[in-house]
Symmetry: C2
Subunit: 420 residues, 2 copies
């Protein structure tokens, strides 16, 4: 009567899910709309940076050889023959004893190879003259062509997020459009006859649908908007039809609820009817053990728990890395760190346990504290936390002061290191 | 001739900037568009969560007193009189020896106070009967009304970011619209005759404008889009006019370039002409020491350096906390942590130095490594890094293995702890 499911490890579950990744197509977007997208091309330096020797300060460009004999007791005088601002060019090469007044960012004029900073120059009575009292080395106070970047250098690989620094680099090389990965098309179906819409009044026995808006926001955090967001009754036929419609138009169908082994849990039967390959239907984790993932014709069916906490971690653990990997992202996992536990957590952990938590850094090191009520159907701790404590399966309770593994939420990238 | 400016500490500079915050107005947005906004109202529990005693598993709801004498050798039999799914209600209170088949999430029927899980029940030959072999305590296997949240509890304070967990909580309590802080209106003016537009071909002496797109993305990371984005020549009159126009329609005008003491640096004179109060024009930091902030009629004028690295840190250090604080955000600073330096950094630090860096966690602890070329005009390291190493002023070089302060980029919130 009760189907017995064999749980697999989280590591194995992630491996199975990641084995079916198909990359999305690419598209070209304007630079100014590329923030938060995933690069589908490497950024290659199209020229040196700086593209020419330039003045890093306001001052006087001179030939260093002319300064060779300068000292406190043998001041050398230069005549200012021209003035150039950033973006300007000198009209001619200078001769011995000549100098050019130059502004920050301006190209070094021909023959010059040092900049006398304003505070290093002593103005002479005549306005167009100054003296120096020390010799300048060749290229002293000069930003050399290519000192930051050499032409043809590969600077950022494809698969990286485009953040503000990436955009500065793209702008530098004239990328007014950028090749990026298309975002996967995602649909969401929340199931459960107990679910009211957010705007509905509470009635006995019912609760409002919080998973739907939550998942929409988890996707929004990744820059993905939903193609399709519907709520279905706990009814086999309407669920099947809804999922078929969603599959027809999207790469990935997320459902919440209906994945247990209860009488009203239709998802297992629907996967079978669709002919989808179920990758797993039980994971050795709490909450979220009933999380189920199936694939069909290269499309994903994520069956998340209807319990808010279980739903949340199921999304972050399985849906997020799949969607990021479809966009070519090479660090699709949540950022991992470790921190000192600030209070006892006395429950034993037969399965790996994810405890919603608040991660802080107090100057003496990273600390983490459970965010409150931590059952799988909890919602308050989801709102309070910024991290998960990860307690490996097979461990007993933890004490305040123990160092524990932590997954950070709300950041864009992470290594796979935390996998346990 | 050369104006001597007295640098102030970063802590003092931030204090001066933060003294002029005026909160933006509030507005109401639909829940589904509230991700990433700042809450302008506290979230108060409008009812208990769960709102009723409910079944956390599929099973049978019974009266615990009926199970009191059950044991391995004295199985007690129950008759199933009804079945309810989540969202359903029992038609009547049960009597002694009766049970109701109940699904996860369904409200506990009147008089019932325990759930027999499916694996705890042995089906009898007749379909509507089952037996148990242990007594159940009152409220065993029941999610109690209010165990997660009690009505009227303040769950999330105003001033917090709305993240996916916040949205789950808002949905739970029926907030189909949310009171949020309006985003500040921001304009950006990049100055410099050397600047080409991104789509222009490189010509001798000129470079493309990378600061403009970069700052637009730094703002986009905060959910703020530019009202006004223009590029002006190094020309006093056009700069003044551009800034006046920008001030007329926005809360905050960001400029890049023109803040040094050079002949073409018009910003100081413009602040004077406008009658703006200059809060500081030199900060004891590298890069970005020329960063200038002025205020006029409650509006901010941020004069950032034209050097990309200096511009970037100037934005994150001063502009970001001001804009977040205008929205009521109580943790407006960059997240702070510490990490082990992975390579020597031999330069002395007369001023506090921000070194663009890559922060990683390798299982043995947090590590940080400079992201490459780190002069103030560098652009490549901006694209590579995800953090800044902060080396306090007055220190000599640092060795690999030293623990250093780190500011993380790309996250939403941070404590003020790192201030030095």
């Amino acid at each position: 009567m009760v189907e017995i499911r064999k749980p697999i490890s989280i590591t194995e579950a992630i491996a199975r899910v990641m084995a079916y990744i198909q990359m999305t197509e690419q598209e070209v977007v304007p630079l100014m709309e590329s923030y938060g997208r995933v690069l589908a091309e490497s950024i290659v330096a199209k020229h040196d940076v700086p593209p020419f020797h330039r003045a890093p300060y306001d001052g006087f460009a001179i030939r260093s050889e002319d300064s060779r004999l300068a000292s406190e007791h043998n001041r050398i005088c230069f005549r200012v023959v021209e003035q150039i601002g950033a973006g300007g060019l000198a009209s001619r090469a200078i001769e011995q004893g000549e100098a050019i007044r130059i502004m920050t960012g301006a190209a070094m004029p021909p023959h010059t190879d040092a900049v006398v900073m304003l505070e290093q120059a002593k103005s002479f009575e005549k306005e167009n003259y100054f003296t120096i009292r020390k010799p300048f080395e060749a290229w002293e106070n000069v930003s050399l062509q290519g000192e930051d970047v050499k032409v043809d250098e590969i600077l950022v690989d494809d698969g990286n997020y485009i953040h503000p620094g990436t955009i500065a680099l793209l702008a530098t090389f004239g990328y007014d459009t950028v090749q990026v990965a298309k975002r996967p098309l995602v649909s969401l179906i929340t199931t459960g006859s107990e679910l009211l819409r957010v705007e509905e009044e509470l009635v006995p026995g019912k609760i409002r649908n919080s998973n739907g808006p939550m998942i929409a926001a988890q996707l929004a955090r990744m820059g993905i908007s939903l193609q399709f967001n519907s709520k279905l009754e706990d009814d086999m036929e309407s669920c099947l039809k809804g999922i078929q419609q969603a599959l027809a138009v999207t790469d990935c169908v997320i459902t919440t609820g209906g994945v247990s082994v209860g009488d009203y849990d239709y998802l297992p039967a629907i996967y079978e009817k669709l002919g989808a390959k179920v990758l797993f239907n039980k994971v050795a984790m709490r909450p979220g053990s009933v999380t189920t993932v199936a694939v069909l014709n290269g499309k994903y069916l994520f069956g998340l728990s209807g319990n808010p906490s279980a739903c949340y971690i199921g999304f972050e653990l399985f849906v997020r890395p799949v969607l990021l990997s479809m966009m070519g992202c090479k660090k699709p996992y949540l950022p991992y760190t470790q921190a000192v536990l600030l209070e006892d957590f006395t429950k034993a952990n037969p399965f790996t346990r994810f405890v919603r938590a608040i991660h802080v850094f107090d100057g003496a090191g990273a600390k983490v504290i459970p965010a409150g009520f931590n059952k799988s159907n909890a919602v308050s701790s989801i709102a309070r936390g910024n991290a998960f404590i990860v307690l490996p399966g097979g461990t007993r309770g933890y004490q305040a002061g123990d160092v524990v593994d932590v997954l950070l939420l709300g950041a864009e990238e992470g290594e796979e290191k935390w996998l346990i």
